[in-house]
Amino acid sequence: MTDSKILIIDDDRELGEMLKEFLAPDHLELSARLSGEDGLQALQEESWDLLILDIMLPGMSGIDVLKEIRKSSDIPIIMLTARGDDVDRILGLEFGADDYLSKPFNPRELLARIKAIMRRSRPEEKHGTAIAVGSLELDVRSRRVNAGGESIRLTGTEFELLRCLAESPGKVVPKEQLTQQVLGRRHLPYDRSIDTHVSNVRGKLSSAGVDNPSIRSQRGVGYLLLVDE
């Protein structure tokens, strides 16, 4: 098994070094860049499996880096935010980060999230390769979504979310289950990540002109994909 390449953009050099040591036994090879500009350059020059991006960066902010990356790449991204800073966290998810961790994080938690995202982004072949719901077609192998011949760009997390809902159209999927399947962790109180991802997917579907199926929420329970036959 080849090592997965992970890039961390964080101005804390020591943290990067320690994380590198921490992740190495799990076949994760971490490289660090200390600024957004350097990080963007590294992303262009090499290919990476995952990016860890700190939101508080000197110079170009983490959010700006995130926006820049999302213009051209669907690479899985975990944002590092300051705890209690809901605005940053929500902004991060809105601009297409896959997950977030608040700093200072428990490194085991980071490892778990990295593994969850990696597992998900590996092509699975046990399920059927295509799901059709309403005007949507989900190609599970290539992780592509088509609506009437047009392709809709979703991040890995967004695709996974849509797939979870599409596997049982018309049925409410509880948030706990969505968090488990999409983000690979248990749903915690005060966690609105799934809601933000749902609103991102909704936004992308509606700007692609898709109104069938539509994602509905069941307050306090979860979400469902509603299909009009």
């Binding site: 994380l19 508080m56 300051a82 700093k103 200072p104 994080f105 005060y190 307050r219 306090g220």
Partner: protein, 453 residues
Amino acid sequence: MRSLLIRIFASFWSIIVITIIAAAAIGFWYAERTREIMQNFEDSDAVLEASAALSEDGRDGLADWLRSLPGAAESLVFVVDDNGKDLLGRQLPSPVRFSMARASGRDRGRRPPKPDTRNIRPARPFTQLVGPDDRVYTIFVLPARSITTRWLVDRGRGGLVILALLVSAMVSYWLARTISRPVRRFRESANAIAGGNLDTRVAESVGKRRDEIGLLAQDFDRMADELQRAWLQQTELTRNVSHELRSPLARLRVALELARRKTGDLVELDKIDAETERLDELIGRILEYSRLDSDSHEVRSSIALDELLRSVVEDVRYEYGYQGAKASIELEADTECTIDGYPNALRSCVENVIRNAVQHSRDDGDVHVQLSLEDSQAVISVEDQGGGVREHELERIFEPFYRSTARQGEASRQTGGLGLAIASRATALNGGTIAASNAANGLCVEIRLPVAD
């Protein structure tokens, strides 16, 4: 006008000068006219004719003469007998009446009557004639009266007072307006700034005045600039401090995990881990508390309180269920009620109060959360079974890091002593009030919020 000093000085000065000049001019003009008319009357033979008529036909002759005088265009002639009556029975003007009253008083050796309140100057008698019956007839010649002169003269100096009042009222009103209007703007702006709207400035609304008020407006705005800058710096500082404190914490946690790998699980490492987490939570709360200070970057929106409560209670239940707390939370929120406010601040407020209650409840004690409506106010009450606090501490528990003597221990360490302080600030930010009281078995915290119309 450049200076407020000059403006005020000139206004008062001009009121006084105008009044004095007007009074003098009117008085002078009236005296001059009276003199002129008397002269004309004297130049005519009227008095001789009157004297002749009186000696021939007595009182009736004099009356006939008076009646035969040409219709007075410029003058009025009155003949008054010693009873103080006009021969033609006309109503006497007040200066004449006053003059007569004074003369009769003098005759009887009394002090002249005091001028009446209207401060009327007595008319000067033109001449006196003695009739065959030894009665004295006094002739008065007065200038004919236009409406304004009659108005002025009949009221004596009172007329002048009224004129002065009018002029001074106008000038004073203008002066007061030029001062009070900008002052009102200042008040509005000061209140807006106190209310957290640091963008407020006055110079624009006061206009391009170059007097003291204009300068004050510039100074006011400079002060507001400074305040805003200081506030931004403070916010920035808090953010940076929290970031700077968290970076070593982040390294500490990674180092801890690396140590754990090398040495195996030690109880001490768990403790270090737990304390690190606590420290982080405390930093988070300080940050939250300082953010709630005056400005919220949140957008105001309408919040359904019943839904908010349900979701917060669910989260707290989940959190404490997960931590193994035995206290259960009962929620009574059947009233639908919506308020206008900052959703995150309000959520944090309710959350902190409920967490505080759960942390202080004895193991089997329930926390009772209730939402009700009282006189267009939404009341959220959170009651625990934790024994309450002493009466004199009821207000102080909302101070940051205040530790109640009755509640010290594990629990207050968990909240970092900021939970209720955050709740208090968040309530104030949403225009509400928060208060605590001792209930049967514990503390009851009540949050009151104005309901949206």
